[in-house]
Symmetry: C2
């Protein structure tokens, strides 16, 4: 393949698709041609890329001819039906849905953690779940240096993770409630589930559908994907995933236990300060810690509030924030494309 690429974005008009296009532009990814695909409903829309207007076309098998890299973010059903065809046409697929993540033949990649897993790809590479990505970016440098025994996380997830319409609904609910009216709810927690609750001025402890074990699918993603990405199939991971009224930027309260003894919070801060993709924001005396409003539009994972547990020598707490649409989705996908180039896999 050449040194410039025919890139396709599938789901180009969605919250993540838009950010993929912006990120390809900002990173100046070497693109010879950009094909933008979406559902029939969205086809015909015009999108600006580097000053040029591109017309969105309907996502169809035949449009993957000559595509080198296809970024998918149009839901699991679309990925399942179209990604194999894209691969058949010679494209490498970077899939941002949960369709292939746990497939043993599909690498699940966060470049800061397991870039080398890309070497084994067979056409499809899965982009992990947003809440998983930022957690493993923060945990990996700690694991490398001090070992890692267990993780217990509670998330504070932004509404944009459920799409643009969920954000619009939150705005409408907020307006209604500020005027003393009853908010309407038709989208969250899960569009196709039975009940819907307002997210404005609320906190909903359900993201994605419930499993028989009492955990939600989002929580199981955090547990299973973390184990796969970190190559630690036995790592103890507990997760509670909660949606809060934030537009962009997932936050996570993470408790973790390391293997090595006599490690201080300062030792861990030193490691994190030098780790790839991380910005350490951890000066309590100056009230500096990561905030979702500050992380919006940023590619890094922000870590702070690092402190030793008061009872467990091996236990630590931290607060990790990142833009769910960027590192949690679009940026990690484009970063995978950059890694594929670097490793000469594309």
């Amino acid at each position: 393949m050449g040194s410039t690429y025919h890139v396709a974005v599938v789901g180009a008009t969605g919250a993540v698709g838009e950010q993929m296009i912006r990120t390809l532009e900002e990173r100046n990814f070497p693109i010879s041609r950009l094909t933008l695909m979406a559902s029939k409903r969205s086809s015909g829309k015009k999108v600006l890329f580097k000053g040029e207007e591109i017309t969105v076309i309907e996502a169809k098998e035949e449009h993957f001819k000559d595509v080198d890299i296809a970024l998918f973010s149009a839901g699991g059903t679309v990925s399942k039906s179209l990604a194999p065809h894209a691969v058949k046409h010679g494209a490498v697929v970077i899939d941002n849905t949960s369709a292939y993540r746990m497939d043993p033949n599909v690498p699940l990649v966060v470049p800061e953690v397991n870039e080398q897993d890309l070497m084994k790809h067979q056409g499809i590479i899965a982009n992990p779940n947003c809440s998983t990505i930022q957690m493993v970016v923060a945990l990996e440098p700690i694991r490398k240096k001090f070992g890692l025994k267990r993780v217990i996380t509670s998330t504070y997830q932004a509404v944009s993770g459920a799409g643009t319409r969920a954000v619009d609904e939150m705005y409408m609910q907020s307006k209604a409630m500020l005027e003393g009216e009853k908010p309407e709810a038709n989208i969250l927690p899960v569009k196709n589930d039975n009940k819907h609750y307002p997210i404005a001025f609320n906190a909903i402890p359900q993201i994605d559908v419930f499993q028989d074990n009492g955990f939600t699918f989002e929580e199981m993603k955090m547990i299973n994907e973390t184990r796969k990405i970190m190559h630690m199939p036995k790592l103890k991971v507990g997760a509670t995933c909660v949606r809060i009224p934030v537009v962009r930027g997932h936050s996570e309260s993470i408790y973790f236990e390391i293997e090595q003894s006599n490690v201080t919070a300062e030792d861990i801060r030193t490691v994190l300060a030098d780790a790839p993709g991380i910005t350490l924001v951890d000066r309590p005396s100056e009230q500096l810690y990561p905030l979702p409003l500050d992380a919006t539009g940023q590619r890094d994972v922000f870590v702070g509030r690092l402190r030793n547990d008061l009872d467990d020598e091996f236990g630590f707490h931290m607060w990790v924030v990142s833009d769910n649409l960027l590192k949690g989705a679009a940026w990690n996908s484009v970063q995978i494309a950059e890694s594929l180039r670097k490793l000469e896999l594309v």
Copy 2:
């Protein structure tokens, strides 16, 4: 003392004071006279109690003459300066500030957990911190039946915990942001601290000031007060306290480990369903779990999302929500007054 009481509310015009007056009314507490006190600035205001207008007077030592029960919620400084005088005049003080909570001579009471500690009071009884109260109400029946080894909690705390003006500021910030304007911030996370951040569409991992160990004072309150109330000075407790854009109702993601083996989530649900002060809302298949919007205005502690950890036989996760102004403050204070009557301590 008689069977009706001269009750004083100090801080009567604040968010908690207002709820104290409403709760005394709703519970039909036997009041012969109600004295409402506040700062000089708020004195002269009129407040309705059982259809009668009461004029708020300035909180002063001499106004505690003949008071039987004094409910304090006007900040730690006011409690420190006036509570001893109220006691000297013969009143029993129920103090909702952090001023006396860790004083070994002051019982720190949640009636569902340690009502009997009231027997040892010496004039002042402390009402615990809001985030602590709802957690111990949920943990105590579990401890009693199965033993308790450790607790790790992450909170999702409502803005009304920081007072009415913080809520007003959140509303103003929300309006500004909905109109695409930059929000102003002058109150949260801590009124008198140096930096202020918007809470609208944000999450702030700081409640109260930072301690040298990297924990905030709010987090230390949860740790130390839980140990004191539950009479478990060695209980392992870890806490991360976070403010989110919710008006009323604190939520908590709580991981806990019990001592007994072979216990199922259903066993714990059975115990919680019968426990005092708890409403179990835990039917994942029907998407039923506690929500802060539903808890607003309710006196109970709502528990749901109970499930066994997938790695630790002794570990469980749950989601606990309660109205921070009611069970977290006003209702627990009035409930202490009711317990004092029941135990013939007043």
